[in-house]
Amino acid sequence: MLDDREENIFLSRWLNNELTDEELADFKADPEYKHYQKLVTATDTLELTSYNMDTALHTIKSSKKTVAKSPKVIKLWSFAAIAASIAILIGVFMWHPQENFTTVVGQQMAVKLPDGSEMMLNATSTASFDKKDWENNRTVTLEGEAYFKVKKGSTFTVVTPQGEVRVLGTQFTVQAYPTLFEAICYEGKVQVSNRNQQTILTAGNAYRNINDQIIEQWDVLDTTPSWIHQASTFRSIPVQYVFDTLEKQYHITIDAKQLDSDLRYTGTFPNNALDIALKTVCSTLGMQYTISADGKTVVVEKQ
């Protein structure tokens, strides 16, 4: 039964459990039986090394792509591409990291913008811009006061709650406080939009809107704002702003109750010497001042 004659299929039948009980008993009695049993048992523990079906399918797919037979295939790929693009675009628009800069009382800060333009923040001001999108959108959001030196390029815009200044040329300052909006152009051209009104300032032009009512325009001779050189300069400004400026530069509180709000001030005071500054302002206005013991409060009264 275990020879290899052409017609013999005994072992095949054994493996298939097709032997009769008698045949099986005979086979088990044969000394060869255990050898065959062992051979089959051992073979049954064998397997092929694993097959990476996904990699294979992927390879086939990539070669399919180059053949580009079926429009259906192309469609699926392009859907995937469109979906991916949309996801990326959403990601880009949703994720705009803002750079924020804030100065405290008495502090100034120079900020280099991504394109090399410069922004100098005066005291108690906040500016922010989108670094990632700067190339397409040169916009700075500002509260307070800042001086800009703008590199040539696309439109440069300073957005403030009070209005917008759009740069057509190069150097300018913006002052944006709740009741005061002022822009001075030192070089080139800027366009000021304020309450739906647009004004173009050329070098030496200044623009101001106080309390949203009085719009003034005048000329300046300076080529940079005075505060860059540690001084504050005013031209015919309501005296309240002068005191506000003093408070911002020196971290003091000014008590000026009996002040005539229509009073205007023109002049310059230093930002680094409180006594001189107070003397300069008060003597011009015909007032006198007293500094409190802790140096934090200044009382201003009529002489």
């Binding site: 095949s12 050898h35 073979t43 064998l46």
Partner: protein, 173 residues
């Protein structure tokens, strides 16, 4: 003309077909031509051909197209070089279920397994092909017969011969 969902050109149909047939085709080509890596290349080649002819091959005929194509690829490869059946790194012992085997088997020495693999490699091609399809891939004689278009009886004869050959080759170890 809209493609029917059962067209071989339908991506999902093609993928499903690949997943249910590629592994078996790989084994078949390996047993037949003796090199597993080459077999994997042939599988890819055959499936790419199937895809390129997808419009002409309905899914019911795809399997026979695939095996015929792959076998032809294998034969043309073999014409250029004689491949000795390679088993190193290709056939190995399953790790997971050795504990389920009979105690005798657990005792089987490495030497025996090596001898067995060499004996399998030394089998005549047809015997080895049938023996491995049956024992490793657990194909029935009927299925094996269908793969190479011969009778079940022919497969049973080959199987019997393969066992006798192996037994002789291994000896009383």
């Amino acid at each position: 003309m809209p493609e029917s969902t059962q067209s071989t050109c339908n991506e999902k149909v093609f993928d499903d077909f690949f997943r249910s047939h590629s592994r078996q085709l790989r084994s078949y080509l390996y047993y037949k031509f003796g090199d597993l890596e080459q077999a994997e290349d042939m599988v890819q080649e055959a499936f790419i051909k199937l895809w390129n002819h997808c419009a002409k091959v309905p899914i019911e005929k795809a399997k026979s197209f695939l095996y015929t194509t792959a076998t032809n690829i294998g034969i043309s490869h073999k014409r250029h070089e004689t491949v000795k059946f390679k088993h190193k790194n290709y056939i190995k012992q399953r790790k997971s279920d050795t504990t389920n085997e009979s105690p005798e088997f657990v005792m089987l020495e490495k030497e025996y397994m090596e001898k067995l693999k060499e004996a399998i490699a030394a089998l005549p091609d047809r015997q080895r092909e049938v023996f491995l399809l049956s024992r490793i891939d657990k194909k029935t004689y009927k299925e094996i017969a269908a793969l190479s278009n011969v009778s079940v009886k022919a497969i049973e004869k080959l199987m019997h011969k393969a066992l006798v050959s192996l037994r002789k080759k291994i000896g009383n170890i």
